[in-house]
Amino acid sequence: MSSVEQSKIRNFCIVAHIDHGKSTLADRIIEKTGLLTSREMQAQVLDNMDLERERGITIKAQAVRTVYHAKDGEEYIFNLIDTPGHVDFNYEVSRSLAACDGAILVVDAAQGIEAQTLANVYLALDHDLDVFPVINKIDLPSADPQRVIEEIEDVIGIEAQDAPLISAKNGIGIDEVLEQIVKKIPAPKGNPDNPLQALIFDSLYDSYKGVIIFCRIMEGTVKKGTTIRMMATGAKADVVEVGYFGAGQFIPCEELSAGMVGYITASIKNVKDTAVGDTVTDDNNPCAEALPGYKKVQSMVYCGLYPADGAKYPDLRDALEKLQLNDASLHYEPETSIALGFGFRCGFLGLLHLEIIQERLEREYNLDLVTTAPGVVYKVHKTNGEVIELTNPSNLPDPSEIEYMEEPIVSAEIMVTSEYIGPIMELCQERRGRYLGMEYIEGTRALLKYELPLNEIIYDFFDALKSRSRGYASFDYDIKGYEQASLVKLDILINREEVDALSFIVHADSAYERGRKMCEKLKEEIPRHLFEIPIQAAVGGKIIARETVKAMRKDVLAKCYGGDITRKKKLLEKQKEGKKRMRQIGSVEIPQKAFMSVLKLDDKK
């Protein structure tokens, strides 16, 4: 019953600039289509579905299968695959796109093409997807669909005259979109009788089923009992269940064959075994080669995570363990800081990934965290020939033992409209970028190529790029390799005591500037104490910057009447509460957020 004819399947995604209406359109498509084919309706699944409901498993909104009754009288299966939208997850995006045969491009009828529109379309075209445009928000007073259609044809060079003019919000024109999905997105290819070859585009850990692999079957067929093998990681397992994605549920079916999108479970215990981009094959009848494009996911950014309350260390460890089950790109190992006590050094794909994990720990696991300044992985070549991969600045060997250091470099491509080329080049210059070249794409759009040190882009490069180009620049990068650089460790002393959790690695040329800003920032963050507190930045024991938090002089409620007593109590309570969010270091109380202040140094806009 799952052997749907290939010609009736459409696998696609939606690409758009942020806020152009991608998720609203996705909602409308799901609403306007059914969950089951008429054949499936009468047949097997209902009881299974009930079971799923009882277990209450909900799926990540990563993919959904719906059934569309087209005007030609046929039923089509739509697999709508969602793609994350941030450079941190570029690799995941590319794997999701690789699972599709086509893409809907949503463009705002008023705003027209924007930076992300281009970046996303090019990414889709790179994966040989057939892209058709949809003009959204035509009901806005400022909508100008004809201009936008021309812009799409001129700038992107795809046919747009018959683009559906829609309002996803008000449900206008959705039928036409559904018809065009049938007509313009090609049916998948692949032979169900060939050896199994399936692309993993996501996976998730479920405590009941183990790892659930999200995949697109390129060739062959997989069903319960098939012994599968992940070609890159080598992990093997027997398939327990296959199925597809209902709205919010996993719906089991008998088999998945070439062209289909669905899930596989095989009692796999760890998502590390099912890396995104890996190829699933039949161990007994393997395919000749893996699908192209697999990359091992590496942590790019490291930082220390500490529980604000030291007693919560075991809770943090448990939470990280659980998160890792679901997120193969999260790495962590225990570490100890003099200032912060027991915690973990954690590795992330990028800063957004870091923020997501941090937020999940705080919200889902109710932990109060202190996060230290993020850094990249440096290679330290010691005079004795040893090479260390440094993820924590505190572990930097004594300068006398260091021969030289290397830092990771990325190749970056920045697409920008011509009026912003100047400011963007200036930004890249400030960030120690090496200019490689520039190509004009159209008359007004250029592609800048730079090599940039990763540690210059992990904090706020993306934000700076957006603000200096008024949102009109898009950015992509690949890790190129390591290069020797003149790097130093910047230490921060508070009340003459070095605070290890505030140390970071910085290029020698920017040490003074960063040290000065860091001191200024900390001066703002640290509240006044009864005594004066010097804040110093030092490189190799030499003080390069200093600020002082003056002693507390006045903190008094001059006026207080009978009616004010409840109010006064509240004020005192607030004051006391504030103190709780502090970290005691020596005799100084430092607010937790101060440990992240290094992130906010580059606030030039």
């Binding site: 009864l530 002089r553 009616g563």
Partner: protein
């Protein structure tokens, strides 16, 4: 009989000052009349509850209570005498502002039983007065002061403010000097430093950077000078912002810090009775509709909350808190409850024990430095 303090709130003024966040506004005569009528109703309606008490102080505050017709103040006090047992030595205060009283009005207050007058001056500099949005000049204050003395008042308080926008230490000291040259010298001086409160025009101006407030150092200096100058003229600083000649400390306000029970009447008025704090609603319309139906926000104080108050209120006074008083109130020694906090703050030079008196035991007081940063000290007396 247990002591009780009465507070009456008159929420009217001629014009709102730019820094004022009190419950007060200009109003039509009919509104004022209706309000005063309602206030009398509330007093009559509630007085029965306080049969067991002897009224020790009465405070008519606002707003500017002197904006209502003198007849209302007379009727208010008449009602108080009718409904409550009032001590013969009761302290009866009213707040007035220059420009809202004449000789007759002041005389009628005096005749009605008011024996303490609190005059809002704030500054002796007309520019500064204008900057604050006050309705009067220094000259008008002088006139009011003279009339008050003539009417028979000898217990007069003058309110002044420091840290005003654009104010220098010299200009502030000039205000102090002028006040000290009054004949007779006022018995009491309240010297507050300006606090820019949320929701006031000053807060808006401050956000826009339009208020040139003196820096912290300057503000401290003004405070120090106040203490020095007033001390030289025989005033004792008995509370963070209050100074008085011997015997003239405001009993009503001291009651707040000593947790004497008090009952408030009128909109927004707060009360502390039987270790419950409660407050009337702030809506004038609701109050006029039903003056007895507006009590709310009742908060029953736990023993811990009472201890917290004992400390953070008591420490506002320079006499501090008595160890024996704490024991009498809670049956626990001060040190067994707060030993660690006290020790730490003594070590930091913010608290000290004074005057070991044979019968009352030691008193815990804020040091001079402790007074400067009293919030920091007081917050530590709150329990987790």
């Amino acid at each position: 009989m247990k002591k009780l303090e009465l507070y009456f709130h008159i929420p009217f003024c001629v014009r709102k000052c730019l820094y004022c966040d009190f419950l007060s506004a200009p109003a039509a005569e009919e509104t004022k009349d209706a309000y005063m009528e309602a206030l009398l109703q509330e007093i009559r309606g509630r007085a029965e509850t306080y049969r067991e008490y002897l009224v020790d102080t009465v405070f008519i505050g606002g707003g500017t209570p002197s904006v209502v017709n003198a007849l209302w103040i007379e009727r208010l006090l008449e009602t108080v005498y009718q409904c409550f047992s009032v001590s013969e030595k009761a302290e009866i205060s009213i707040e007035v502002n220059p420009g809202t009283v004449d000789g007759e009005k002041l005389y009628r207050y005096f005749a009605a039983g008011v024996n303490r007058l609190s005059i809002g001056l704030q500054s002796a500099n007309d520019e500064e007065l204008k900057g604050l949005g006050r309705i009067h000049s220094w000259q008008e204050f002088l006139e009011t002061y003279r009339l008050a003395v003539e009417a028979g008042f000898c217990n007069i308080n003058v309110d002044i403010m420091s840290a005003l926008p654009g104010q220098s230490t010299d200009s502030y000291c000039l205000t102090l000097e002028k006040v000290l040259k009054l004949t007779p010298q006022p018995a009491h001086i309240s010297a507050y430093s300006l606090i820019v409160e949320e929701g006031t025009p000053f807060a808006e101006m401050d956000k826009k950077g339009a208020l040139q407030l003196p820096d912290e150092e300057c503000e401290r200096q003004m405070y120090k000078r106040t203490e020095e100058m007033l001390k030289r003229h025989g005033y004792e600083r008995y509370e963070i912002s209050n100074y008085a000649k011997e015997g003239y400390a405001c009993r009503h306000n001291c009651g707040y810090w000593r947790r004497v029970e008090y009952a408030g009447f009128g909109i927004g008025a707060a009360s502390l009775v039987d270790n419950k704090r409660f407050q009337n609603g702030r809506s004038l319309a609701d109050y006029l509709a039903n003056p007895l139906g507006c009590r709310g926000h009742i908060q029953e104080l736990s023993e811990k909350e009472q201890m917290e108050e004992f400390l953070f209120l008591g420490l506002r006074m320079t006499e501090g808190v008595e160890e024996n008083g704490f024991w009498d109130a809670f049956g626990k020694t001060l040190t067994e409850v707060y030993g660690a906090v006290i020790e730490k703050n003594i070590a930091d030079g913010l608290l000290e024990y004074r005057n070991p008196e044979a019968d009352r035991g030691r008193r815990l007081v804020l040091t001079e430095r402790g007074l400067d940063i009293s919030n920091y000290v007081m917050a530590q007396f709150l329990f987790d």
